[in-house]
Symmetry: C2
Subunit: 507 residues, 2 copies
Amino acid sequence: MTPIDPADAVPDGLLEAFRAYERALMTDDIDAMDSLFAAGPETLRGDRGGLLVGHEAIAAFRRGRGGAPARTLGDLHVQVVDADTALIMVVTLAASGGRGLQTQLWRRIDGTWQVTAAQVGPPPQTFDPTVWRVVGDPLVAGAESGPLAGEGIAVKDVFAVAGHQVGAGVPAYLAGSPLAETSAAAVGLLLAAGASVRGIARTDQFAYSIAGTNEHYGAPVNPVVTGAVPGGSTSGSATAVSLGAAKIGLGTDTAGSIRVPASYQGLWGLRTTHGSVPTDGLLALAPDFDTVGLLTRDSELLRRAAAVLVPSATAGCGGLVMDPAVIARASADVAAAVAAAVDGLGTRNTVDLGDLEKAYEAFRVHQAFQAWQVHGEWITSHPGALKGAAAGRFEIAAAVTVEQDAAARQVLAGARSRWDEALGDGVLVLPSAASAPPLLTDPPEAVDRVRAATLTLTCVAGITGRPAVSVPGLTVEGGPVGLCLVGPRGSDLALLDRAAALAATRP
Amino acid sequence: MTPIDPADAVPDGLLEAFRAYERALMTDDIDAMDSLFAAGPETLRGDRGGLLVGHEAIAAFRRGRGGAPARTLGDLHVQVVDADTALIMVVTLAASGGRGLQTQLWRRIDGTWQVTAAQVGPPPQTFDPTVWRVVGDPLVAGAESGPLAGEGIAVKDVFAVAGHQVGAGVPAYLAGSPLAETSAAAVGLLLAAGASVRGIARTDQFAYSIAGTNEHYGAPVNPVVTGAVPGGSTSGSATAVSLGAAKIGLGTDTAGSIRVPASYQGLWGLRTTHGSVPTDGLLALAPDFDTVGLLTRDSELLRRAAAVLVPSATAGCGGLVMDPAVIARASADVAAAVAAAVDGLGTRNTVDLGDLEKAYEAFRVHQAFQAWQVHGEWITSHPGALKGAAAGRFEIAAAVTVEQDAAARQVLAGARSRWDEALGDGVLVLPSAASAPPLLTDPPEAVDRVRAATLTLTCVAGITGRPAVSVPGLTVEGGPVGLCLVGPRGSDLALLDRAAALAATRP
């Protein structure tokens, strides 16, 4: 007597409910889908984006999805458990090609068939254009030997790669972009050290965002938090590294574009000392703040790659310092997690960095002014080329006057000298981001609030030109958050050693 | 009262069995895994490779897999149905990066917990190197307008693509291959017609196979038959087209390398008239038989792309003809399916093509002789560069003497004139392949037998230089099989029209 007896009668009403769900899915009838999934916090639905737990999270996902891809059904298998419970596994045939697979556990609850658990497997994807613009095995081979031999790089699409265009996350810019004759200096250094270029990874439009939700190409998945933004603007590189599709993410960090995706995805991230890596072949955003950065899954490789990019950044760094008021700017849970972590790090001094708001505002103004200097002419001559938040940001940038910029520069110079004095050779500890990653379905106001809070934290390294390392390992309810260490200029390698030592001793 | 009550006690022994399975998976303890899956034909296991039905198929898959990727477990959810039934959904954390998801239905059968259904979702893959060597969005943009505007091409890795190397499925060949200055003529024609190159797709080593199981890079998935070979040597292009990752597969057909993957994956395929498409920029295999070919999911696009590649192939074609002895060379189920389909096609004449064995043997010898002329010098100077069956095939090719080749040519000339006379302007109907696609786990002898039988069928078009269309739609127990129409030389476009008309009227 086997419990999977094909002769078991399929319970009445089950297949009708199954078909009703499929119809609702194909017509994006969200109410019908919601009603065919069991209410309550225990209902499960997962796909390659991750697992959603609870009816509410599943419903929110459906509202944000904008419909499922068209499909028909192939082989259908029903395993009947009892008169009120059955598992249905069905092959799905995508209209766009390929076969997927779907498993649903159906239960009759108060007389109505409902799904309590579902796993949805879409057809295999051979290329994810939200992560990569171009990718190969490899795309560009590196030197045969060297300290990075065998490692693959996901190059943010603002660095020149010989033989390829620079797209900068903007289709119209890509269309007019020539094939690069030589690779950017940073790419060249990594290739010479034996790494190969795995691919050119997506970025936010002109790297002017920390969300990673490029409106032209879609957001790369956040492989750590289901439904969350990946973090930007080094978004494609970060997701590629998280998924193991590349070992090293090469990116830039102007206002947090390495530290934020590192924080949101639980990666190691390095923003190098401003000016320490040659920027030949790198498309600028705001040159006074632009830095080259790296993302990896572990500290050892980050140290090895950093030694290739900034071999001369061998200054030392002093003791840990913190500013409780800075940490307290983060969301309550992040502040608590970071404060607890700092407590665990032993001796450290407190410093007073004073008013971050004013300095951040000046940072924002000068970044915008420079961004418009760099990209304004192109944007003006390509109306409609930018979409969404980036378009709005450049509109604001266009309006910054020379006088406003001069005033901002004065504030920045003051903040820099004040902070340099306060920090000395100390290593400042603060959160890499002000919160766990926001969800793609969060309301825009909430995302904006989080953004401003995060940038207020990240601007300390931006304004001082200091290197910063994001150390993974902390988790709050909404996902991971990085612990950021900001060291003296030129201390990149010592700072990485310090960060690795801290991570190793953390309980 | 909800049936998913988190307070429901997890039945005794369930989590122990679950953990035992995970241990068995990580140590590739196949016996233990087999014993933890329910016996019988109703047990289910699916992943992105497709759905396996029955304990036996699942066990065979495990034996052929060579172990599962290392992983640890994340969030675990148990939905208890009754004391003997529970669903477990668990997030998996791949050691190489990324999160997957797994659903298992566990049932206590004769006192032992066993899985009756499982869906395994590995972490998202952003790039499939079994399908592509290089891929982009797009890799090379085509003309802004034209009859193929908006269509993406998967270019078999034997055609030059400007700015890229030709790899031909052989890593050592790729390593020494220069960047092409201009694209191959066929690629250029498609680009000029508005198509873009989506990517450069994997092929068998030097295109000398019909299996599609490149030993260096692994076999692309067959998206239609779980665990089956994709068909080669235009393997990557075929899988890319099946999955919708490209609309047009550009390949070559020397001995069946378009028709076989078309047959194995249920695609439309065209082998063009020998000599009708310029072969500049195409790496040869056996020039007397090499032709350019196309794969698509529908006949309309195939016709549109063919009109770009072979605009002058406008000869007409006559009535349908068949040779029952040729059809009978296929496996019994394929022969029966094709015979039934031919019966449904109405009026047609029978012809006698005589002994195919002798002609195929001559085809094999001359193909090998030419293949060695083309590649022998490179292979000799790169010992160890080839792997598996292709290495063996070139070893045999190296041994073909000039005398043997001369004798083969004589047989070929005879067969060609005899067949041309028998066929006239008729359209020969036969199976595209002698069987459904073999499984990756089939024993080598079985695969060889199938290969020889298929090549005996495909050599009719090869020897006569006639165009051939593979029409999808037939299915036997092991999967799809194509109906092949071979027309007069130069009739490519008329032949496609005929094929589309036949497909449209088929019951």
